[in-house]
Symmetry: C2
Subunit: 467 residues, 2 copies
């Protein structure tokens, strides 16, 4: 075998190994056929045969009589979404920001995290709700609760939907353990391994992590200041045949942009033409000064599934999310939630949330919070300006600023430097499926006012050669 | 085509339709090859070809050039674990008992449910814990908490493990949203669609529902009074090559039996020989008068994964479960939990549980609860005796009695009659993958003391012809 041939065989082997390690191919899956993979890799079929034989000799794959090659499953190769290892050595992938932020000790600053500091949250209303709970019914403390979740909270939510113009019945609403669990349930319900899912590029990094767990193919659509690039979206629908599109319409994470009415209308029109279902993750709704267009409202919960939670506005500890969708889908989702969580969300959590939402204090808290965030957003932008770090746009609400770095700086390299100084940043590429956001950082304006954030950032930037 | 041939084609079509409806074949899955399915069905290959062609004409499946037939995915056929429909019309399947019990209004009696009445739970210690919480740190109310969950609760659990003889490190323990979510995470981590999983027959009905969501093949092993039938288990390991075995070692649900030391040892020996992983769901541990053999203890958390929760002893509303396993597996499970739930269990829930467990009242409560259950178990058995309903064995603890009906009576028919009278029973076949437990009912002795339970049961039995 010539050296060149050897290299080609090695490339095919590496491509398959990568598919196994990133779960594009799972234990028991059939490998691409010799002929098709030869075309994909631009090599001869005999090179692929050679590569598969060598991988089989290594034990990674196995031939089955007359039906091709399959990935071998062993106890030592379970599903691994990210490389395990010491925390700071891990690659800066979608898990990096989550785990760095969630597991940071209190001394660590977290301008890259996705939540508000404890003292920005409605702690007094929450304490009042907890004291009320201590005097409540035994069953609230001890029972599983109904499969759809607390009737009080569901009534409150249906009332809010009605104010927006969504006329949903009680059968169209299901409470879940959290917003993430809501998205996960919907994915389980609608997707099969190998399906294609459309996401925004950039988008909330955990969508990628979640979709990887579902073993689906992810396709990104570039995001613009008025929503996804509609031409790219229409092309993707026609050529990639996605089953699902997951997005935030209002105060999109990480950019803070909101959908324009024209884009919203075209998104839905194309979705109908291609029988696409849309998951609209609406967790930032209450941060808007006034409601922007919502797909769920325009569509009336026909092919749009609304997902929400209270983790950003009320509490990430007392967790509860919800799904609003077609009644027949809710019925199926409900069974799936029983099978995988046994029952709905904690009655204690749902009662606490309902009790805070029902009292007058919550609206006042949100009014005050929006004013405070407006101020923090302006201040953060002003502080970043001298470093040459500029917002891609100025969001109308919420706590994110999606900022471009000076030319040639790599945000992942900066984030790696900063974490050594106990500052967790959110580098652009963890949000980007195409890995084209290396020049961006996402700032949480409520977590960026400590002068050390700026000092560490400046130092990290200075230590790196502009490329 | 002859009529007989037509019938055979129809049988093949029906078999495939059933595989699609029960998710043995999911959207995008490849159908069995013509030749192999002809062998399975005992028909000629041309009959299978005919059946596949007709199903393709109906749009259920689709041929792909040169690579066989595949199940078609459409927006109108999402994943449906059970048939939707009005509640009382649903088939008596594993979801039936869950939903009937969880969604029953307070007037309904639930001798078939899987939890204790609210006034049997430690409500006073829980209320004290809630009052303490109301004076706690802001962050406990508002933050996501660390990815492994409350350090206080993890320390408590590791201390209990040490008392049992399990020397686990903090890296071997992960808190989860619930015991069911713990099992679900482990399945996601270790299983791929099409894998084979071993369960006890009978076993906790939700294991079947959960495994269906994972699209795996389920194989049952008959359960005996000292654990699974060890010969059948060894044969299944050799012939079915299961990836996982899920079981309760102590106070097995539904039978109340516990594993003998000899069976425990042989289970582990065969597991090692066949590289099988075992999930030991230990949620009834605290109901035992004295600890019986545990696989996790014998094995030292090498190939055994321990799962537990506090839903049965402390609260099903303040939910939290855990997984104890190999440290490298916990690392992967942790990422999976971040991806699918964002973070660990609610810090509020974990703190409340830790606070109740740490105070002296919990042990006293459990001592009292065990005495109360012993009494209720004897009384329930005595009340059922005149109806000819007899326990399969007398469990040493817990709240279940697995009882055999008089000859010829079908427990599902009785359950359907009883639910019309607002009594939810748990008929045997929802626990049995082989559907061989029609003569059994599972009683929750703490939910069976209302005289109406017996009256309705007697009436339902009398209204059915013995077959």
């Amino acid at each position: 075998m010539t050296g060149e041939r050897d290299t080609r065989t090695g490339a095919v082997m590496a491509a398959i190994r990568k598919k196994v390690s990133n779960r594009a191919l799972a234990s028991g899956d059939r490998l691409p056929s010799i002929r098709s993979f030869a075309t994909t890799m631009g090599v001869s079929p005999s090179t692929v045969v050679e590569a598969y034989d060598r991988l089989a000799a290594e034990g990674l794959i196995r031939a089955r009589r007359g039906s091709g090659f399959y990935v071998v499953g062993t106890a030592s190769s379970p599903m691994t979404l990210a490389q395990a290892g010491p925390r700071q050595d891990r690659a800066v992938d979608p898990f990096w920001v989550s785990r760095q932020s969630l597991d940071a000790d209190p001394a660590v600053l977290k301008p890259g995290c996705g939540w508000l500091p404890a003292d920005w949250m409605p702690t007094e209303p929450l304490r009042r709700a907890v004291r009320t709970l201590a005097r409540g019914e035994d069953a609230t403390f001890t029972d599983y609760g109904g499969t759809r979740g607390s009737p009080a909270l569901r009534r409150l939510l249906l009332g809010r939907f009605a104010e927006e113009g969504i006329d949903a019945s009680p059968e169209q609403l299901l409470l879940t353990g959290s917003g993430t669990q809501a998205t996960d349930l919907v994915c389980r319900f609608l997707l099969s391994p190998g399906d294609t899912v459309l996401i925004d590029d950039p988008c909330y990094f955990n969508f990628q992590a979640l979709l990887r767990a579902h073993r689906v193919r992810i396709v990104g659509v570039p995001y613009t200041p008025s929503g996804p690039d509609i031409a790219a979206y229409e092309t993707a629908l026609a050529t990639e045949r996605p089953r699902l599109y997951i997005t935030n319409s209002a105060l999109h994470n990480p950019t803070g942009a909101s959908l324009s009415p024209q884009t919203a209308h075209r998104l839905l029109r194309a979705a109908a033409a291609h029988d696409l279902t849309i998951v609209e993750d609406d967790i930032f709704a209450d941060f808007e000064p006034a409601p922007s267009p919502r797909l769920a409202v325009l569509d009336g919960l026909d092919r749009v599934i609304r997902i929400g939670s209270f983790s950003k506005t009320l509490s990430a500890s007392i967790r509860c999310g919800y799904i609003a969708a077609r009644a027949d889908w809710i019925e199926g989702l409900l069974d799936l939630q029983v099978a995988t969580s046994f029952g709905g969300p904690s009655p204690v959590a749902a009662e606490l949330i309902a009790s805070v939402l029902a009292e007058g204090g919550y609206r006042k808290h949100m009014d005050e919070l929006r004013r405070r965030l407006d101020r923090a957003r302006r201040e953060t932008a002003a502080r970043l300006e001298p470093l040459g770090i500029r917002p891609w746009l100025m969001p109308r609400g919420g706590f994110y600023l999606w900022c471009r770095l000076p030319d040639g700086l790599d945000s992942a390299a900066i984030a790696r430097k900063a974490v050594e100084q106990d500052v967790v940043l959110a580098p652009g590429n963890v949000f980007s499926v195409s890995q084209t956001a290396a020049a961006f950082l996402r700032f949480n304006v409520a977590q960026s006012n400590d002068p050390r954030v700026l000092a560490v950032l400046r130092q990290a930037m200075a230590s790196l050669p502009a490329e």
